[in-house]
Symmetry: none
Subunit: 392 residues, 2 copies
């Protein structure tokens, strides 16, 4: 890597890739009226990115790691760590996190409902305060409400391993399990977790239907090189949802404040901080929300809103612009999907495809080809003239 | 691999890939009038090759290893070895090579100029003769002028390791360093290099500004399977510059004599030796020279010259023809670049794209796709019917 005064902006429309409503029809992106993106596409290289591996539907964590330039299989984020990131919890490298449930047990301690009748989130918040009173000398515990019966559990201390079995037996009619260490390095963590659960049981006794807890998916964050280390970039993240802020923090990005939750507020944060960083990641959540809800025209509208905001980015004169997604979320599937993601890379030195259209089929014919999402960042850095020659 | 009477010819136009002068314009290759290449393209498969990895700008060494069929990261050629190859030095597998500088030190031995004022190459040649008088029992030393203050240093003997630190401190105001062995196997080499440097210091004393030497980038050649071993090919190389002759020698090609330095002389060597080999690599240097000098129309002219010579190759009736480059060198960038390289593969059994044009955009739409350069040779061998079926 070489220092350069160039700036790279990456707009990630979550779940961008789509499908037509009817065979032969247009996708959400192809349907959207996007004059600004189309004009940019004409001066860009287009391609389709594969977030993880062909045929694999990526979750938000691995989808983001991929387009950020990391192999999501090499750097797997465990369930517990993802839950904590999603709660915007500032998870440290030594913290052990887990997914928690409030649950119901009978007088004999046998599990009768793993989800405690999906209690209201407000009840969860009250119970989290109760659990938060548990204190031990060696470690700190954090219990953060997610929603209904779900919470994120974090244990902070030194010498804590993550190789711990679930206390959730994944069935009723049996008692919750104690956690067991799968490696000697995790024995201290196992002992402390089991003590925490015992105290939780005592504190929750009599509070039917939420008289017990289950923990599963114990995990620490993967240890990964930061954007500064890997790419020599001072990177900033603009996102309003916890998960995306968390993944950005994980790779060493500075997470910027956004005044408000609208897309225009995110672009305002971009403008305000433009002079202070080399790289900007701007996350657009509502494309995925619409896709997962099956709202084809809603997703089209969000894409059009991003298109209308694009001139505010271009006015800042970025050297390299990437527009892509972390995975596909076609409205017809109402879920994430395995389809490759439309991707545009713009810069002064791209060998432009000359196609004035940003859509799945235009991208399928683009000269970036079908590429691993993790390969996009090296190409962006090359176009920003931030990579030296390999050998002579 | 299976023996076959077929012949493969690979024309490498150095730095072939380009960029338009203006957005939306044509590249050097697209601008060139190439009726013969265009006609060949119509009966070929086209694609774009990635020499090393996406976004990585390849040097000439790794660029050639890639299109020769090797992974340039697996077989990295160290700096010193590249310098010796570039000087057309016949580097052996046990030789340890380094990049050398004549430099200036003051009376206290402190470095005052790492490049000795960039002395004329003629002075360098005289000094190289002086250093060449240094003799020791166990090893032979070679000092070969590159240009100005630069020379290639080679130590030949047995039991010499390459894990040696630079004697060049990469700054002035401090004395040159002795080399240190980083592994026990390199201790003998370190002792001999330091004795060489001490004798050089004595021989150069008083010859300001060139009264000392610096050595850096100690390296041996990577050990790699030859074309004969890997592909079962009797391979020949036609190139007039040292570097390319050296890399070809490294993979076991026979480097042919060329009478003259013109492209037509290289094609004459091809004709003269046609019956004696299965594979021919013919290197065209001036495309890169023009690209690196920023001479767009000069590069266009070289491509047109190659096009005019192509019928001499086709008259020999090769079974498979590859036309490609080792990397891109767009005139607008005046340097090597990361852009994928236009590649054509012709043979009786290709599933031809039917596009009568050899250019970057035609190749971007070609059915070879965007592929690693190292994958071209297996496809060429298949088309030459030199690969047997994988299992049954």
């Amino acid at each position: 890597m070489v220092p350069a005064p160039t700036k790279i902006a990456m707009i990630i429309m979550d779940g961008l890739g789509g499908l037509p409503l009817e065979p032969g029809g247009k996708t959400e992106l192809e349907t959207a009226r996007t004059p600004n993106l189309d004009a940019l596409a004409a001066q860009s290289v287009l391609g389709l990115t594969v977030p993880v591996r062909p045929g694999i539907t990526a979750g938000s964590g691995p989808g983001h790691l991929g387009i950020f330039g990391y192999d999501p299989i090499q750097y797997e984020i465990g369930r517990g760590a993802l839950e904590a990131l999603g709660a915007d919890f500032d998870l440290g490298p030594d913290d052990v996190a887990a997914r928690g449930n409030f649950c119901s047990v009978d007088a004999a301690g046998v599990l009768t409902d793993r989800r405690a009748g999906r209690i209201p989130t407000e009840v969860n918040k009250e119970l989290a305060k109760v659990l938060q009173t548990i204190q031990m000398d060696e470690v700190e515990f954090y219990v953060q409400t997610i929603k209904e019966h779900r919470f994120a559990f974090v244990m902070r201390g030194s010498g804590l391993g993550e190789a711990l079995t679930d206390t959730d037996p994944h069935q009723t009619g049996v008692p919750p399990l104690p956690t067991c260490a799968l490696q000697p390095e995790s024995e201290k963590a196992a002992r402390l977790v089991n003590r925490f659960i015992e105290q939780a049981r005592q504190l929750l006794a009599g509070r039917q239907p939420t008289n017990m807890i289950l923990l599963r998916g114990f995990a620490r964050l993967p240890s990964m090189p930061t954007y500064q280390e890997l790419f020599g970039l001072r990177a900033a993240a603009i996102a309003v949802n916890g998960m995306y802020r968390g993944v950005a923090r994980l790779v060493g990005m500075t997470v910027l404040n956004v005044d408000g939750v609208a897309l225009a507020d995110e672009f305002a944060a971009l403008e305000r901080n433009w002079s202070d960083f080399d790289f900007f990641y701007l996350h657009v959540k509502p494309t995925d929300t619409a896709g997962e809800s099956g709202e084809f025209s809603g997703k089209v509208s969000v894409i059009e809103e991003v298109d209308a905001l694009l001139p505010r980015l271009m006015a800042l004169k970025p050297d390299v612009v990437i527009v892509s997604g972390d995975h596909s979320s076609p409205a017809v599937l109402k879920s994430h999907s395995w389809h490759p993601v439309p991707t545009l890379l713009h810069g002064k030195y791209v060998r432009a495809d000359g196609v004035a259209e940003f859509g799945e089929r235009a991208c399928a014919r683009g000269s970036l080809g079908l590429l691993a999402a993790k390969d996009v960042m090296p190409i962006a850095l090359a176009n920003a003239q931030r990579i030296t020659k390999f050998s002579a």
